[in-house]
């Protein structure tokens, strides 16, 4: 495959272009998706027309619900939400209708919809423009939760998501958009439910997701002289590649979970519980979690930084795990 270096945003854009070319039933709508300023949807309207790519009024319940309906009626909608925080005004359509219609109907209908949402803190945007919330969606039955961390995964996971017949929330950390990486020009898939072994190691397993994968890698680099760190990116929280995590912990005997989402009842707790249930005897140290405390995210950059996981905090957690 021909690889070039492109950004995360450009990779998402390529996935849209290739899939929409292939399948007429794929439609895109959301707030300002026809404008050129957002990398993921740039040029889609010019190429595929205003019927298939359309701006919606700022009414998340209506247009997310329309996505659910269009999916049930046989289309394959990609609905874009400017920020994940805004999903909170449309929870009936997401958590009741999108998530449960397949089950409630006993499989009589399916909802092949991809809800793309931008996520993430670190831009001084305050408490309603900075959240991750993947734990919230992962908690509800019926939604696949996809969290890419690299341009390669962004393209491959988005193509897989579009082709998948279940509802997905596809979560894009906005600070990842300028990240560059090698990406094939051709269409390809990264399967949902298969973790990525980002870095092999023998002393400590670090499970991280989204932007935090990069912080974990930086921490692993810094710790090189003292410890060999294995970094695992689950890539999808639902379905979760449990085996990849368990196998790694069985090898290293130590686990640090890094999560930008809130700590309490969150993804980091789920991974810790998984290991406690299925690999406790392999653990040589208590599980450590580096996650955002249950505090609304403040505007002030120093306060925000103080709360968020970081390379420094991961390094500290690994050192504690190493005893």
């Amino acid at each position: 495959m021909d690889m070039r270096e492109i950004t995360f945003g450009e990779a998402l854009n390529e996935a849209h272009m290739l899939e929409m070319e292939r399948d007429q039933d794929i439609i895109v709508f959301g707030e300002n998706v026809s404008s050129g300023w957002r990398a993921a949807t740039k040029g889609l309207k010019e190429r595929f027309g205003r019927e298939r790519v359309r701006d919606a009024p700022i009414t998340e319940t209506a247009f997310i619900g329309a996505g659910v309906g269009a999916a049930i009626a046989g289309m394959r909608p990609i609905v874009e939400l400017m920020l994940v925080d805004f999903s909170l005004v449309a929870m009936d359509q997401i958590l009741n209708q999108m998530a449960k219609s397949t089950y409630m109907s006993g499989g009589a209908v399916k909802v092949p919809m991809t809800l793309r949402v931008l996520t993430g803190a670190g831009t001084s945007s305050g408490a309603t423009h900075s959240e991750s919330l993947h734990g919230l969606f992962a908690h509800m039955p019926g939604i696949k939760v996809v969290v890419p961390s690299t341009p390669f995964d962004a393209k491959g996971l988005l193509i897989s998501s579009i082709r998948d017949d279940s509802p997905k929330v596809f979560m894009e950390h906005r600070l990842l958009y300028p990240f560059k990486g090698y990406v094939p020009e051709e269409p390809y898939t990264v399967p949902l439910g298969v973790a990525n072994l980002v870095r092999e190691g023998t002393d400590v397993t670090v499970v991280a997701t989204g932007l935090m994968v990069h912080e974990a890698v930086k921490a692993a680099d810094e710790l090189k002289p003292e410890a060999s760190i294995e970094v695992i990116d689950p890539r999808t929280l639902v379905p979760l590649d449990e085996e990849a995590i368990l196998d790694s912990v069985k090898k290293t005997g130590r686990l640090v979970v890094v999560d930008e989402d809130y700590k309490f009842c969150g993804f980091s707790a789920e991974v810790a519980a998984l290991v406690a249930e299925k690999a406790l005897s392999s653990l040589e140290a208590p599980v450590a979690r580096v996650a955002t405390p249950n505090v609304p995210l403040p505007y002030n950059p120093s306060l925000e930084r103080h709360l968020l996981p970081s390379k420094e905090k991961i390094v500290g957690a690994v050192r504690r795990a190493m005893g």
Binding site: I72, A73, T102, M104
Partner: protein, 324 residues
């Protein structure tokens, strides 16, 4: 399919659908009281004219989104009575393997895309059905049912706006049993759902036509729905139709038969009188229709009662699409 004037078979067809809904729901009431259904739920008694008059203009490829009083909508849309009754009884042979029950029932084979347990919940989805129709340019429409309570939900208001902005081929049907109607029935209301008597006034706010009609007059429903559905099919965009309705026996605690006061507003009694006066319906024809529908409903009950329970393993299936 959508002739705006009806011949004799057409008139009797409307009458038959209304009888079918009433007989079916009366059976549901009985079965629930006898403990043969897992739950009690909202019924449609007194509103039959709306579903019958609207669905007379719809084919199996047109879609509807329904409410938590869905049986009238589903039966008028053509759902198979056996599988419908089986679903209500929670049986494996129901449309949805007994996982839906009344509030979440889907029968895509006739475009019945969802009863809905959340007030106003199906309305945004119905816009999605219409969007699919518009993109496929297949001449199909979607009909979105809700009540006057649902009409206040943010999602319904948002969807009225979205449908108008996107000129979607859909018709919003508000079945309003609001204060005005309640007062007619002599009920006292402390705090109403609405501060206006006509939900259709809101249509103008979103740039679509709206009107209010008597929902107990099936021919008025038929005519108004026919015009709105035709307009949607021809690309004219959405309409908000409001039908005043009397929920004669709105819940399962209610009686099987309407009382004398309510009978004045019973759409079936009213239509029967008109058809009789016009010489379309004779006692003999009436009796035949009622007998046939009663037999069909009894068959549905027998089917449901003799159907198996779902296997316990079914509790875990269909969380995701098959193969996913």
């Amino acid at each position: 399919m959508s002739k705006l004037s009806l011949d004799e078979p057409g008139l009797l067809g409307l009458y038959r659908v209304m009888i079918r809904i009433r007989v079916f729901e009366n059976a549901v009431r009985r079965l629930a009281k006898e403990g043969k259904m897992p739950a009690r739920f909202g019924l449609y008694t007194g509103q039959e004219a709306v579903a019958a008059g609207v669905s007379a203009h719809l084919g199996p490829d047109d879609q509807i989104g329904s409410t938590h009083r869905p049986l009238g909508h589903l039966i008028a849309k053509g759902c198979n009575l056996n599988r419908l009754m089986a679903e209500l009884c929670g049986k494996a042979t129901g449309f949805n393997k007994g996982k839906a029950g009344p509030y979440h029932l889907f029968d895509p084979s006739v475009g019945a895309l969802g009863a809905n347990g959340v007030v106003g919940g199906s309305v945004p989805m119905a816009a999605g059905y219409a969007l699919a129709d518009q993109l496929r340019a297949d001449g199909c429409v979607s009909v979105s049912y809700f009540g006057e309570g649902g009409s206040n939900q943010g999602g319904v208001q948002e969807t009225l706006n979205l449908a108008a902005c996107w000129k979607l081929p859909m018709v919003f049907i508000c079945e309003n049993s609001s204060p005005e109607v309640q007062r007619m029935l002599g009920h006292e209301i402390d705090y109403p759902q609405l501060s206006i008597d006509r939900v259709s006034l809101r249509a103008a706010n979103y740039g679509m036509p709206g009107s209010t009609r008597d929902g107990w007059d099936v021919l008025e429903v038929y005519k108004a729905a026919g015009e709105a559905i035709k307009r949607a099919r021809e690309g004219g965009g959405p309409t908000l139709l409001e039908f005043k309705v009397h929920q004669l026996e709105g819940n399962l605690e209610g009686r099987i038969e309407a009382n004398e006061k309510e009978k004045v507003w019973c759409p079936i009694e009213l239509f029967k009188a008109k058809l009789t006066k016009d010489g379309v319906l004779t006692p003999k024809i009436d009796e035949k229709i009622r007998e046939e529908e009663t037999t069909a409903v009894q068959k549905a009950i027998d089917y449901a009662m003799s159907s198996p329970e779902p296997k316990l393993s079914e509790a875990y299936t269909d969380v995701f699409a098959e193969g996913g």
